[in-house]
């Protein structure tokens, strides 16, 4: 029993995969387009200038009797977002995989969008959705769901795209040979092949999503304050009321929710997805889940599968039989012409986008605003860098120790995954109380909150890497009696590097996002404030200053993309090329 369970699917995560290290022309193009999109949104949001519209919702009551209902509402929001993300994934990723032109736009867009701080989105979208459903909570609900969606959709779509592009050639040939219709081929070949990667990414996205659902339930944009019924709002009210008991209750409720999610959703689905693993030999160790075993014994899985199978067949029967596809055609002159038109269209769009950005920034921002934002960005960057380094120094040795001992790994791994899913912002108030009580410097002591929730990604990826480390290499290094330092340097660190990079990238990305809620904190009337880009965005949001929100988001995106390109991607490539075991 050399390894525990394989948690990682053999796909580089979004942000690590990609051909070039340097930003290319396409990245720049897409970046300008996305930035212009934000500018347009911000501009529109200002125009709305809705009078402080009080939302007619039920106020949040800090009564434990309401807590189960709030927890349920929070969970439902989560599921609404995941369904939206799945639909987005199926449409967009399939489009990118099937059309070369769509691919050229979608891929860089996904890469940049995943670097945009999710909580920054909220500012504009709240204004929009509120106008869409005037006087009702539905608008705010949509905004919250949309915020969670933006934290999940990109890497799911990317994983699905990657799988679609790597469907084994011979299976594709079988599909064409037996003349499967595109619909049947999608459900019999492409979707099953992509399932393990997509499901793993969906589950990781959901784990990350809890953080955002909590953060997006209670939000203030300018004069509009929204508190949707949920654990996040309960927490916000508790903070205003300085009610530590309510905070503790929220932590407990959240823990129960995550535990149920882990046992009833995450594990059964991962165990089920194992069936789709593309392997030709049966693995000895498979993911376990008691809920899945129950389902299976109740033949529920088979029944569900049968129902889904008949649905697929029904649609297949209803659609007209397509003409046999021509056996791949050559690129013709008209295709070239279309290419030229396409490029011209994109260029025109970029020019227009640039013009809009210049107009917008000239009207509202000065050059020193940009300098300020970048200065603050560097401060936050320093925080993220120092904290990831500290977290690595602590968790890499611990993770290796655990990973090399199967009995420990099987016990610790679920705990690490649970901790990664637990929304750390629920714990923030407790830390803030401590900082206030001991009069600590918020510039230093607010920082650890940024990695509170994200450090676990480093831990469980390192555990996975160490568990997968081949026994024969370990035995060989024992025989050579390597000294401690040599063993770390030449044996285990190279062995776990791909896993570590994946974990550290996720952790760093999460920390940037967390900065927006971690650099500004309050306890009743006491406001704690750390200088940084996160606080800059948070303050601009509270003040309803859309121009500065856009600037903050833009600067943060540039910093995150640069980190990915200049640090993580080269590291990952090195790891892939030199240290890939198997």
């Amino acid at each position: 029993m050399a390894r525990t369970r394989r948690i990682e699917v053999d796909q580089p995560p979004l942000g690590l995969a990609g051909s070039g290290l340097k930003p290319n022309l396409y990245d720049l193009t897409i970046f300008i387009l996305i930035a212009a999109g934000f500018v347009a949104l911000a501009h529109g949001a200002r125009e709305i200038a809705a009078p402080a519209e009080r939302l007619v919702g039920q106020p949040i009551v800090l009564d434990p009797a309401y807590l189960p209902e709030y927890a349920l509402r929070t969970t439902l929001r989560m599921f609404a977002a995941i369904i939206a993300s799945l639909i987005f994934t199926f449409v967009i990723a399939t489009l990118a995989a099937k059309s070369r032109k769509a691919e050229l736009v979608i891929l860089p867009a996904l890469d940049i969008l995943q670097s945009v701080p999710v909580l920054g989105f909220l500012t504009f979208t709240v204004a929009y959705f509120l106008r869409l459903f005037p006087g009702s909570e539905l608008g705010a609900e949509c905004a919250a769901v949309f915020a969670i969606f933006t934290s999940q959709a990109w890497n799911m779509a990317f994983s699905f795209y990657q799988s679609l592009r790597t469907v084994p050639r011979d299976l594709v040939e079988v599909g064409r040979h037996f003349r499967l219709s595109p619909w049947l081929s999608f459900w019999r070949l492409e979707a099953p092949f992509a399932a393990p990667g997509l499901i793993w990414n969906t589950m990781m996205s959901m784990s990350g999503g809890w953080f955002f659902v909590v953060a997006s339930e209670a939000i203030t944009v300018g004069d509009t304050t929204i508190k949707l019924p949920g654990i996040g709002s309960w927490l916000a009210v508790a903070i205003d009321a300085k009610d530590i008991r309510a905070v503790v209750l929220a932590v407990i409720a959240m823990a129960v929710v995550i535990l149920l999610y882990d046992q009833l959703v995450f594990r059964p689905i991962v165990a089920w997805a194992d069936k789709f693993r593309f392997e030709q030999t049966a693995a000895r160790e498979r993911p376990q889940s008691w809920v899945y075993d129950l389902w299976r014994r109740a033949r529920l899985v088979r029944r569900t599968a049968q129902v889904m199978g008949s649905a697929v067949r029904l649609v297949e029967r209803l659609t007209p039989r397509p003409a046999p596809p021509p056996a791949e055609c050559d690129r013709t002159v008209s295709a070239r012409l279309f290419d030229v038109l396409w490029i011209a269209l994109v260029l025109a769009l970029v020019a227009y986008a640039l013009w809009r950005i210049v107009l917008f920034t000239r009207a509202t921002l000065g050059f020193d605003d940009v300098v300020t934002a970048f200065g603050l960005g560097l401060l936050t960057f320093t925080r993220v860098a120092v904290l990831i380094a500290l977290a690595s120094a602590i968790w890499v040795p611990i993770g290796v120790w655990i990973g090399l001992r199967p009995w420990a790994a099987t016990r610790v791994q679920p705990v690490a995954q649970f901790l990664a899913a637990f929304p750390a912002n629920v714990l923030f108030p407790i830390a803030v109380v401590a900082i206030v009580a001991w009069r600590l410097d918020p510039n230093i002591w607010l920082s650890p909150l940024m990695v509170l929730g994200t450090q676990w990604y480093i831990l469980f990826n390192v555990i996975a890497g160490a568990s997968a480390f081949p026994t024969d290499l370990r035995e060989a290094s024992t025989l050579f009696r390597l000294r401690q330092w040599q063993w770390w340097r030449h044996v285990i660190l190279p062995g776990i590097l791909p896993y570590y990079v994946t974990g550290a990238l996720t952790a760093a990305g999460g920390s940037w996002n967390a900065a927006i809620v971690a650099e500004v904190a309050s306890w009743g009337d006491t406001k704690l404030h750390a200088a940084g880009l996160g606080a800059y965005i948070a303050d601009a949001t509270t003040a309803g200053d859309y121009a500065r929100v856009v600037l903050g988001i833009g600067v943060m995106s540039v910093l995150v993309v640069s980190c990915n390109r200049l640090l993580w991607r080269p590291l990952y490539r090195l790891a892939e090329r030199r240290f890939r075991l198997e």
Binding site: V174, R176, F178, L189, F278, P324, A327, E328
Partner: protein, 432 residues
Amino acid sequence: MMDKLDELLIVDHIRQAYPKGSGEDLLVLDDVNLRLRDNEIVSLLGRSGCGKSSLLRIIAGLMPSTGGNVSIGGRPVSGPAPEVAMVFQTFALFPWLTVLENVELGLEAQRVPAAERHKRALAAIDLIGLDGYESAYPKELSGGMRQRVGLARALVVHPRILLMDEAFSALDVLTAETLRTDLLDLWSEGRMPISSILLVTHNIEEAVLMSDRIVVLASNPGRISAEIKVDLPQPRNRLDPAFRRLVDDIYARMTARAAKPSQGLFPGTGISMHLPRVSPNLMAGLMEQVAAEPHRGKADLPALAGPLQMEIDDLFPVAETLQLLRFAEVAEGDIKLTDAGRRFVDLAPDDRKRLFAQQVMAYVPLVGHIKRVLDERESHAAPASRFRDELEDHMSVQFADQTLRTATSWGRFGEVFAYDEDTGVFSLDNPA
């Protein structure tokens, strides 16, 4: 009798070319003509890279040809043809579908009603000897059983022609033999719903064992070099002298072309010669084998292939590389060591390297070219990309990569030059 009516498959002047870096296209198949009649098994025999799999895919309608026509039962093929079903070398089963679901797949695409689909799939599974495994997943089965699923999946759609693409080559020797025998039994008893079988193989004995007719494909570009009728009665015995004679004869035909090394064993000339992936250790191993008892410097290739468990795809590239380096001569199915080859076998490791370096420098223009460039430069170093670009002007990216890797490996073995993988730089100084 060449009655037009019983010509099931007509392959007419098929030509296949791929564009390459610069200049002319790379010709893979050149003017291939082939007929397949009812009730016969025909083998397409050739080495890897001779385009035989491409030909099969063109026939199946999976790939368009650059020129020529294919027609089945009088109708031209312009896309995946319903009259043929293919068995794949890699089995190509869907791992998430059970045996039954895999077999039903083709029928599902044809929208056969569920009840009939089920009945036909079970019949095919039964025929091929898989009963009891209907609900198993492919990963639970051995290689032989998996290929039976592949066979059942092909038969269940009732094709007229069964195409087999190296269907036995991924199986171990015993399993492959059992499956071949079972297939021949079903064929001779007329229990399979098919008219003819076209099988692609690089295994000479397999072709002789199974087919009524063998079509030999030569490489660079792929073209038909011989057509051999096999009259031996079924079941055939590999040890039958007539069987052995036929095998030897085909070996001779397939190596005859290589008699004149100046004409080029490998496609391309000068530094753009495509080099095969053959390691110096493999060359040394084969030379030792030929030098040893009972061959004493001259061996019959089939006799050498048997005990070494090598198929022609493994053996020929090594033999031809030895010929390129003038360590051996290959002709008429025999391999004979040259003086250099005999000397090499007797030398100590360091002297072997020196002799190898001499031969490689003399007869592999690319290695000589790299060495010259390094000598001329003051730094005695040059990036690999420089040579890769040069090669890519003459061949595809994959071939350029393979050729440069081979040149690197041979140059390193002979200590002609050193190569640093990390920096991608060739240099003259050996790492300390």
